[in-house]
Amino acid sequence: METKSILLVGVGGQGTILASKLLTTGLMEAGYDVKMSEIHGMSQRGGSVSSQVRYGKQVQSPVIELGGADILVSFEKMEALRWLEYLKPQGKVVVNDFKILPMPALSGKEEYSEKILEELSSKVETKIIDAGKEALKLGNAKVMNVILLGSTIKMMELTDIDWNKIIEDNVKPGFVDINKTALEAGMKLV
């Protein structure tokens, strides 16, 4: 099997780290070789973050190269556009219809474009989901990340893996049920 590459991007604090942890653990237990790369730098909240996940029979590089990702999953709209160069031209985008203003936009120095989803959809196969709304329906805004994970799993045809068990093993007991529901909801969105 050829190595597959999943690029999860977002803004610090959005929970990409838990999502990639669940994803990589599931892939490992399913018998794939897995590598994952994250750049942790400064501890401040709010920077652009990425988790690069690669799996297959034998994975060499832990980093996804330019034009190398099979799927780009973006927890925030602007980040999808920032990282789009890393997607294969025939790759897919799952984008959360969710906006977090960066400092230049907060201060009114630069404009946060309203045309991002349009630009994405015109260039590449794009699934737009509203994980924020879905999370509120489930009663916890924080499970947005696991909803997005659910969509990723579905898109990458990884639904055979026992994700419920992965959640049980890796999430605090009080949050297992809501995360299971969130994962399922995410699968249904795509």
């Binding site: 730098g41 400064m42 909240r45 160069e85 907060l106 201060s107 260039k123």
Partner: protein, 593 residues
């Protein structure tokens, strides 16, 4: 047991399995998680040292006393520890000693890109380079064996991607390595020149024996794919090379990179026609290959700086990387790091940014963001702990020039003050400059992810300990003018700066308020009360759209162009109250939660 681990977690696991009993470090990206993970093993005494030199010296002491011991630090940290390193190299070890250096090709969060493999030949010590997490674990164990067999400290060179990438690791049990019996041994451990001259000779002999080892060890191996192309690679770059060349090349995988495996390199060169040396940063292996009279490609095609990720290699080799999607990049707005909502450094930078009569000498920490928008309140910064010394030197020279009526303000954090910043303060007092020294005490080591430090009251492994008092220390240094101020009180902050600039001699200002992301201790709650429990909101009726609050640079505040009003994101606001003090029409009000 199979587990997914980062390189840093695997180093920690390796230390555990190797029977390490003592480990010390000073935090620094990308090395920090090594000690944080070692600390989880109760069998190991794991400590944060105030700086890298102290960390390495403590580890040397632990080794002399008979324990397998490990120090970890980021690349620039090794510069701080280098004095100890170069002489400990002569002394050799009792319990095995390993130093981990975490280098940063690409400078993801560092001030330079030095290649610490250079410390191998410079300090005459062996260097190992793991490529993935399994190798991190295994090489720590091997490094301890090498250390004890060859009587030397061993350097393991990691890079950001090796530290922070996860891959699958097979774990095993901890080895039972008893403490070695302590015997006083002057000729080995005393640095009298008469002893050191003899040890110097031993070091040369040791290098010869290590060179033999380098040619024999499985850490250096040929993967013969019967190809004309040969790749020589080490560290993370080995996997990048394999990603690009796959089975189309043969490989000489270098895991033990100093002393170099001369014979193995010659042997490999006979099997292939064209050699590429893939190494991040300096052409160290490349020069070795060339010195042997073997032709190769290296820095003539691959960049000398940055990471050699597969796309970079492809571009260098074939003129272009994989195809990418073409799109309108003008729509992308940057997301620069900012001081967090409620950051206690905000009040200080907001006030000092307004002064035109000062030059600001900064340092390395979250407060380096004071250099960026909207404050632009930093003139220069150099290295960890350098703020007060560079301020001192600059002040001495400004004072020679009557036209340059500048006061220099040195700015650093609590962890940086304990690191090496205090030495600069000695200099200010001793050599009598009138530099102003500011310690932004946020009660923790913030930027690297909230590590305890000598002033925070807790150890790495969570034990309550003496809380070294910065104010008393400063007083003991002989500083006469000292003020401690709450940085969230802008009027006090301003008045304190006026006071310091008004004096014709040195002063120290200590701002004291905890980092907004800190897990508050019992002592924090006692001292600062209910931390960050309220919120602020803007009354739309009152807001006149003057944007004064925006100039505080708080990421919880945004300006809505349509309504021409400011707006506070209640989820992000932590209620520090700074913005409410700058509003000219009192439109920002506190809401109790």
């Amino acid at each position: 047991m199979k587990k997914l681990m980062t390189g840093n977690e695997a180093i920690a696991r390796g230390a555990y399995e190797a029977g390490v009993k003592f480990a010390s470090a000073y935090a620094g990206t990308p090395s920090t998680e090594i000690l944080e993970n070692i600390a989880l093993y109760k069998e190991i005494k794991a400590e944060w040292a105030p700086n890298e030199k102290v960390a390495l010296e403590s580890v040397c002491g632990a080794s002399i006393a008979g324990a397998r011991s490990l120090a970890a630090m980021k690349h620039v940290g090794v510069n701080v520890a280098a004095d100890a390193l170069f002489t400990y190299s002569y002394q050799g070890v009792t319990g095995g000693t390993v130093l981990i250096t975490a280098d940063e090709p690409g400078q993801h969060s560092s001030q330079n890109e030095q290649d610490n493999r250079n410390y191998g030949p410079f300090a005459k010590i062996p260097v190992l380079e793991p490529s993935n997490s399994q190798e991190c674990l295994d090489m720590v164990k091997t490094a301890f064996e090498i250390s004890e067999k060859y009587d030397t400290i061993v350097l393991i060179r990691m890079t950001t991607r090796v530290c922070h990438s996860k891959s699958i690791v097979e774990c095993s049990d901890r080895l039972d390595i008893p403490l070695k019996k302590y015997e006083k041994n002057g000729p080995k451990y005393l640095t009298l020149p008469s002893f050191s001259r003899k040890n110097r000779v031993k070091v040369e002999e040791r290098l010869n024996r290590l060179e033999d080892f380098s040619n024999e060890t499985e850490l250096n191996r040929i993967e013969d794919n019967k190809s004309n192309i040969g790749v020589i690679a080490s560290g993370g770059a080995y996997h990048y090379g394999k990603e690009v060349f796959g089975d189309e090349a043969s490989y000489l995988k270098i895991g033990f990179s100093f002393p170099y495996p001369d014979k193995l390199i010659k042997n490999f060169s006979e099997k292939v026609e064209k050699i590429y040396v893939i190494e991040e940063n300096d052409p160290i292996m490349e020069n070795t290959v060339k010195k042997l009279g073997i032709e190769c490609h290296g820095k003539d095609i691959f960049p000398s700086y940055g990471e050699l990720t597969p796309d970079v290699l492809r571009k260098a080799l074939y003129g272009k990387a994989a195809d990418t999607i073409d799109y309108n990049k003008d729509l992308v707005v940057g997301r620069p790091p900012t001081l967090c909502a409620g950051c206690p450094h905000r009040g200080f930078f907001y006030e000092i940014a307004k002064r035109k009569d000062v030059a600001i000498s900064g340092d390395i920490g979250c407060y380096a963001l004071g250099a960026s928008e909207p404050y632009n309140a930093m003139d220069f910064n150099l290295c960890m702990g350098g703020a007060f010394s560079t301020a001192h030197g600059a002040q001495q020279v400004f004072d020679m020039n009557v036209d340059e009526n500048k006061r220099v303000v040195g700015v650093l954090g609590d962890s940086t003050f304990f690191h090496t910043g205090i030495n600069g303060l000695f200099n200010v007092v001793y050599n009598k400059s009138k530099a102003i020294s500011v310690i932004l005490d946020n009660r923790i080591t913030g930027m690297t992810g909230h590590q305890e430090n000598p002033g925070s009251g807790y150890t790495l492994q969570g034990d309550p300990t003496e809380m070294i008092d910065i104010e008393s220390l400063v007083r003991a240094c002989g500083v006469k003018n000292i003020r401690v101020v709450d940085p969230n009180n802008l009027a006090d902050m301003k008045e304190t700066l006026d006071w310091a600039v008004g004096l014709d001699e040195a002063s120290v200002i200590i701002t004291r308020w905890p980092c907004a992301l800190k897990k508050f201790s019992k002592e924090d709650k006692e001292e600062f009360g209910d931390l960050f429990t309220s919120k602020y909101k803007i009354d739309f009726e009152k807001c006149i759209g003057c944007k004064k609050c925006i100039k505080t640079g708080c990421p919880a505040i945004s300006f809505d162009k349509a309504s021409k009003k400011s707006f506070i994101d209640i989820l992000q606001c932590v209620g520090c109250g700074v913005c409410s003090q700058v509003c000219p029409v009192e439109a920002i009000e506190r809401v109790e939660m």
